[in-house]
Amino acid sequence: MDKTKRPIVRRSLFSWVFDGNLGWQLSLLAVIAVVVFARVLPLEMQKRIVNQAINLRDLDLLLLYCGFYLAAVLLANVCKYAINILETLISQRVLKRMRSALYDHIISLPLSFFRNTQPGTVVNAIVNELVVPSNFAGMAVSTPVANVLTLLTFAGYLFWLNPLLAAVSLSIYPVALIAIPALQRRANIANQKRVDLSRTFSGRIAESIGGMHEIHGHGAYRIEIRKFDGLAEELKKIRIVWSLYRFAVKTTNNLFTGLGPFLVFLMGGYLTIRGELELGALVAFLSAQEKLYDPWKELIEFYQVYQDGAVTYRRTMEFFDVEPEHEREPSGRAPLTLDAHLEVKHLSFATGSGIRLLDDVNLELKPGEHLALVGFSGSGKSTLALCIGQLNSYGEGQVMIGSQEVARLTKQDIAANVGIVFQSPFIFEGSIAENLLYACDALMEGGVEHVRPSLDDIIAVLHQTGLFADVLRFGLNTVFRAGTHSDVARAIIRIRHKFQDRYGEKFRDAVEFFDESKYLAYSSVADNLIFGAANRDEFAPAHISRNDYFMKFLKKEGLHQSLLDIGADLARQTVDILGNLPPDTVFFEQSPISAQDLPGYKSLLEQLRRKKGRDLSAEDSRRLLDLALRFTPGIHKMVGMGPDVQKVLLEKRTRFRAEVSRDDPAALTFYTASEFIHSQTILNNIVFGNITTASSQTQDLITQNIIQLLIERDLLETIIDIGMKYNAGPQGEKLSGGQRQKLVIARAFLKSPRLLIMDEATSALDNRSQARIQNLLETRWKRKSTLVAVVHRLDTIRNFDKIAVMKAGKIIESGSYAELIDRKGALYELVGKK
């Protein structure tokens, strides 16, 4: 963070007006000068038209003045449009800068801030609350300048016409200036409450979404709705009050400005009756005075935007006015390279409420030594690990890495030397590669000298962490669109033939080969009927139930009704089994209906029951048909498919093929052993069929054989590269718990940090993967990186150089495994208990 610069949360709203927008604001002023002139000119023309052109009956003069009049009106409107564009431009630029600056500030805030802040609060602040303040910034120069200038010009013109009448008609404005701010103050109070409540409201919504599994798990819908309704009601009330005051400001203003003509009529009428004022002059005065309203109204509106914007801005910034605990980047020097000697001296850490989580902790690790922190949960192991990694700011004592105290280092210094693997791994939306290189990329973008790992390095780490097989599977499960990767597709067909020759017989039971004469239990009904890949979208599985040609075929062949029956049966069984379960992949991976579509099918079934199958709407029929066409009996086990049905579908497959080849030969590419199938995964293309076995042993065996074939064709790296592009989904939801954990471990290994902190980093892994990581730490990382590992499984700690047993925030014993077991103390007891 740059100390010389004021932190965003302390900046005034006005500071944004010119910051980075000086040129734009000046252009705006230039346009305003033109617009003021263009607004006054018609008044003068009006007078000249009446007094000179009409009076002198001079047609040329009339046309000239009318021409000026028209030009002024056109110019004023064009300028007004230009002002709007410039204002929008400025306010959007300010909004973007405000958002970036606030986000930049927020992500530097200490973790403790986020423990007490709901994500929804941050989202609301950045997305919604900055909009009004930035709108203000867009108008801040133009609106007051343009309108005050216009106002003064018109006022001057009025005085020039008739000073007495001008003074009377302008006398209402000072009164308005007293009444309006009083009302606005009340509106501000309401707005302040609205901002605070919106923040709570957004936070609460985000909390509920995050805890959706608990809500579904306990059927707690009513509790959540009640909580939500309470806040929504409060927000409704406060918004009504706020709006009432805002409208009161507008109404009061309108009332005052409405009094203007009244005073002119009264006073001017009196003077005219007495012959002291000409009728023409009164009319000219009235029309000039009318022109005062627009600028005045705009000024009042601007005043409101300013007030709302200022309140919203202040409240938002105050909420985030927390100091980051550490500098993000060092200033004036490169990030330090630290000696991986770790020393913790008299370290204590207390929570905000004063509970001591660490109490006088001391330990020392020489470079390359490995330490296991063990103890019951709540004993302070993770807290200690996080203090070492600068994620907890400790109160007393010292943590020294090499000769540097952790509390005084910048975040970048820590990142350059320390790698952390957290207990609950977090994967960002993006590819496996992006997630894997996250730490390395962060270093490089942060200016730390670090070589970007090569594909070989990455593959090595994938092997070491056991992620290789997963990434390979992602690659093998990729579908190529027609026209892409044609070289790879050709090579895969050659591998397909090899696979058939070598392993076809061996995996006869584990693979269902694409055989024209057999029904495929692991392919959908649609795939079975079509038995080919679509060359046009309308024949693709997702669109087939809307394809007229296909529908006509089904009806002609008498399949339509039987498919509707299958669809209805499948929907009934699925809703019966899964109807009340939360949208978890575990429950829905074997379901023909996604969690998202389930409610729709529920109501469809309800319709079906009420109407007893008659008069189903066309859309409902289509959805049932769609479901039946998706039905894959090998996966969707809730309903069986009898051999008779399969036989019929096989006959129709042959007939469909014949018909479509005749009517529309380019629509489909039928499955043949010599063609790449663009609707199927690489894996299915290689085995030329569907893998049917659920046995992981057999699946592994198939994969190993495929790897062998890929290596022979020099294609393994290509498939891995494709697998690395697999999108992990939001928060990595498309990965299993084990895959996520392996990925974050691989990420830390790829960075090769001098000091590695692992906080129960392998708890979600199966035994084999856990043993692999342990083995890797012992063989590759010992003597190379210093390791602090929080360990919950005591069967893995035997080979650590040091073990520290923690209890109630203290290290109660430490030493090597053998020493501690011999001592028959706390570790001996813990191991015994295990």
């Binding site: 899964l578 978890d584 575990v586 429950f587 074997q590 809730m638 069986g640 042993q697 084999r768």
Partner: protein, 174 residues
């Protein structure tokens, strides 16, 4: 051919067969039909050939098995000497404890002839059980009863002579 005998994937309704088999096991018989359906649905089928292992001694394979048809043999590797324990067959359920927590296999289970079984993974079981928290006490009771029943049968079959095993009896005392 009975409904539980060999059939090709998808032709008969596997879900109904799973339901029928699981409701006869000690662990799943405690569940009401509504929740039992979920477990029957979550179970997958595995076909093994003669000699294939369902699980091996020493590994924690995180899953339970129910034999649909065929036969499997429990073996104990005693320092390199493989000893046959007993055979399990159609309807037998193995691995209920594995579903409840980490339980390293102390035996191996090997298919004898072609065998098909229902496989239920711990992750699926745990997630499904979380949906029916009311059933937890029943599960505990069923497991306790199964352990005690096992020891009663063991003691009954033991007779007077068990060599030096007496001091180590008492799994029901856990």
């Amino acid at each position: 051919m009975s409904s539980l005998e060999k059939s090709d994937a998808g032709t008969s309704c596997e879900f109904k067969e799973n339901l029928e088999l699981l409701r006869q096991t000690y662990l799943f018989s405690v569940f009401p039909l509504e929740s039992l359906k979920v477990f029957a649905y979550l179970g997958t089928r595995e076909k093994l050939h003669d000699g294939d292992y369902l699980f091996r001694q020493g590994e924690d394979d995180d899953q339970a098995y129910c034999i649909v048809y065929g036969k499997a043999r429990l073996e104990l590797n005693d320092n390199g000497r493989v000893r046959e324990i007993r055979d399990v067959g159609q309807g037998d359920f193995i691995g209920g404890l594995t579903l409840l927590g980490d339980a390293r296999r102390l035996y191996s289970l090997r298919a004898v002839g072609e065998t098909v079984c229902i496989v239920l993974k711990r992750e699926k079981f745990v997630k499904a059980v979380q949906q029916f928290p009311d059933q937890m006490p029943r599960i505990f009771r069923a497991v306790v009863e199964a352990v005690v029943d096992w020891e009663i049968r063991f003691l009954g079959a033991l007779g007077a002579d068990c060599g030096g095993c007496l001091p180590r009896l008492g799994v029901s005392l856990l």
